[in-house]
Amino acid sequence: MQIRPILSALRRHRLAAMLIGLEIALACAVLCNACFLIANRVRDMHIQSGVDEASLASLTISGYEDRQSVDVNARVTAGLRAIPGVQSVSVLNSIPFGERRGSMGITTDAEGLHRGGVIEFYLGGPGSAEALGFHLVAGRALQAEDYQSFSGLMPSFAPVLVTRELAEHLWPGEDPLGKSIWSKPLHYQVVGVIDRLVVPAPALWGAGTGGWSAFLPAQPGPGLSGSYLIKAAPADIRRVLRDARETIAKVAPDAVLDLQGTQTIGDLRESFFQQDRTMTGILVAVIASLLLVTALGIVGLASFWVQQRRKQIGIRRAIGATRQDILSYFQTENFLIVSGGILVGMVLAFGLNLALMKFYELPRLPLYYLPMGAVSLWLLGQLAVLGPALRAAAVPPVVATRSV
């Protein structure tokens, strides 16, 4: 293929070629970054919770007095346990992807000097640890006597289970067992390490903090009531939750059911990531329309060029060029223009990523997105130009003899 004649022909169509090139460049920049944004959102949405999501539901009530809480807890747990299909009912303050009631800044020393960031304390009554279904990877399981009653917001001293991620963050490379977590004057001692337990609102405190959770055993009471974890077989969980709503009206007629906080963990997860899903949809739509518009632009200009050069094509055909020659001429021309666009586009993509990093705390665009974007635009360009190029190849040599 001879590139020199194509280049010199392009020089006569500088403006149009530049326009297509710029369009490709912008498309390349947006495409790479939009794909990267999608990948980030999808990764966020697929965060592992570490709990048995399919068989858990949360039920929340409010509108009763603190002094009634022991009584309410007893009535509600007894009532819910009587529902056929319920495997367990326990009291748990925070719920994965639901309400966040145990976020606290912690330190790793009693003086409060070594900050450990804000972590989530899942404060749970007997049975809740088993219901959540997380796996213990080190240390001991919680015993009945670990669940002590307390007053105030949080127990002042208790054994605690921490996630592997949190332990790695607080004491990198050390054995976390026996270490202490402080939030002056509260003091908790690590007795076990769990595989994974997601915080209720992952990504709120920044990337990499989604697993900074601890499980704190306590006896239900005024500081731990009104929020229940129901476990049932995955097939039963929706029906059980429906029945549970009716049960509440009977066993705690004075309390107000919080519909937002009364959902299966699966549904809570759905609504927690609703925004991300919408955003992913928008990004996909933008990419699709962007590629479509770019392709149409290429088709439009290429058709124009084919029409404008009919006579020249005819002449070339008359003096011996094959259809294949004409076809590959237009394909090469398109490849050159698109390549120019991609070159500028990569720089633009990088700049756009820098802006996104600054304003949206996005990580750096991995370099492999650039060749991926380039290949898709090359393909798009070749596809778009194929129609006009085939029409050009179909120009009969006899055109050359007319009206010269």
């Binding site: 369009e23 939009a34 933008v286 518009v293 200009l301």
Partner: protein, 440 residues
């Protein structure tokens, strides 16, 4: 002449209907996407109290005794500080706000108990923030001092409990206390719900909830604290509160204080008062960083909290990048369209049309594409806003097109197509008549 150009443009557009449709579609989709996101942006980033916001200020004093350096004071105030600022009565108006969920029953209505959000504030809140009333009015300042059991309710709650009738004088049961309704608000939907905004910088851009509807029940601050004692949530604490939910003597920040200052001199004076107060408390040992006070105006406070959700901003950027691509596309297509008619242009030039005339004719044609694209864009914008309204976000119900954005849609469409038209039109007007006539 303009009429003649319009006719020519119309003929030109019809001659190549596929190409025309492509251009119109590209502009329409670009405009639709940009205007949908721009409308949402405009609704979310606007001034909730135009004309007034400049005289409203949010007071902050850093009362956290932790020794480390803090660049910003905490977003809310503890009880003693809020009361000291309020009781100084140095501003033209001052108020304190705190919201809490409260159990509500209406003895007259046969509804199960509700848990609406209640705002406890002072009488100044209503005139300060221009809150409209449908029936009755705000409580009086002495009701605040007397811990009066009165309440103002929202239009929504009034519709729910009393079918929208005048409910002034009727009774509501808040938790265990009966309160008398003294006022019913007219529909009021500030965007955002600015007076409770706080903590935006810790929200990682997920700030859609700042745009939720105002509370359903408003009670005097003093009464609210008694009625719903034990159910107040702290913004943050430096030590755990001894009685959760009762924060008057707790080491926690949980109150927002707003002041109205009608002149720049008063703003300076009030800032000096805050600094003086912090210095005095520093001398008493309660405040560690006395220089860390702030008096931000309403818009500064919203800005500081980054109230516009980052996703919305991202969508706007995306839409405009997309519009730019559509613009390049249209330039290319218009260029093809005009140059394809080089012969015709050559004839016109040969017959005496000036370059300016050719240029004008081409621009009219481009403008017409823009107008058609604008109509399509408007329809797509309405569709886009309808989709936004269907989303489960707090600001969904706000997403309507107003007159200004309606006009902007057309302005943007025509501007886009004219910008797109300039280059091709200039190129077309430089067509050499002789060369073209020869090839005819």
């Amino acid at each position: 002449m303009f009429g003649y150009y319009l006719e020519l443009a119309w003929r030109g557009l019809r001659r190549n209907s596929v190409l025309t449709a492509l251009m119109v579609l590209a502009i329409a989709v670009g405009i639709g996407a940009s205007m949908t996101t721009l409308t949402v942006m405009h609704l979310l980033s606007g001034d909730p109290l135009p004309g007034r916001s400049g005289s409203l200020f949010y007071a902050q004093v850093d009362t956290d005794p932790s020794p480390e350096q803090r660049k910003q004071p905490l977003d809310k105030l503890d009880y003693p500080t809020a009361m000291d600022i309020l009781n100084a009565h140095l501003a033209d108006r001052q108020t304190v706000v705190v919201d809490s969920a409260v159990k509500l029953r209406a003895p007259d209505a046969s509804l199960p108990p509700l848990m609406p959000s209640m705002l406890s504030t002072t009488a100044d809140f209503f005139p300060m923030f221009d809150v409209p009333f449908q029936y009755g009015g705000p409580w009086r300042a002495e009701d605040d001092d007397k811990h009066a059991r009165v309440a103002v309710i929202s239009a929504d709650l009034n519709a729910r409990l009393f079918q929208g009738a005048n409910s002034v004088g009727r009774t509501l049961r808040l938790r265990d206390t009966d309160v008398r309704i003294v006022g019913v608000l007219a529909p009021w939907r500030p965007s955002p719900q600015f007076y409770t905004v706080a903590g935006g910088r810790f929200a990682a851009g997920k700030t859609a909830d700042f745009y939720s509807k105002p509370q359903d029940v408003f009670t005097p601050f003093t009464s609210g604290l008694e009625i719903n004692d034990g159910n107040f949530y702290q913004f943050t604490c430096w030590l755990p509160p001894s009685t959760p939910g009762h924060l008057q003597n707790a080491p926690c920040v949980w109150l927002g204080v707003w002041v109205q200052l009608n002149s720049p001199a008063k703003v300076t004076a009030f800032k000096r008062f805050l600094d003086g107060y912090a210095a005095e408390q520093h001398a008493l040992g309660r405040v560690v960083r006395p220089q860390n006070t702030r008096l931000r105006s309403l818009m500064e406070w919203l800005d500081f909290n980054g109230v516009v959700p980052s996703d919305v901003r991202l969508q706007t950027w995306l839409a405009f990048a997309f519009l730019a691509i559509c613009l390049f596309n249209t330039i290319g297509l218009l260029l093809a369209k005009f140059l394809r008619r080089s012969g015709e242009i050559g004839v016109r030039r040969a017959l005496g049309a000036s370059r300016a005339a050719i240029f004008a004719q081409c621009l009219v044609e481009a403008g017409m594409v823009g107008l058609l694209g604008g109509v399509g864009g408007l329809l797509l914008t309405l569709l886009g806003l309808w989709v936004v309204r269907g989303q489960p976000v707090a600001f969904a119900d706000l997403a309507y097109l107003d007159g200004r954005m309606f006009l902007l849609t057309f302005a943007l469409a025509i501007a886009t197509s004219l910008i797109a038209g300039v280059l091709p039109a200039a190129r077309a007007s430089r067509v050499a008549p002789g060369l073209q006539l020869k090839t005819l």
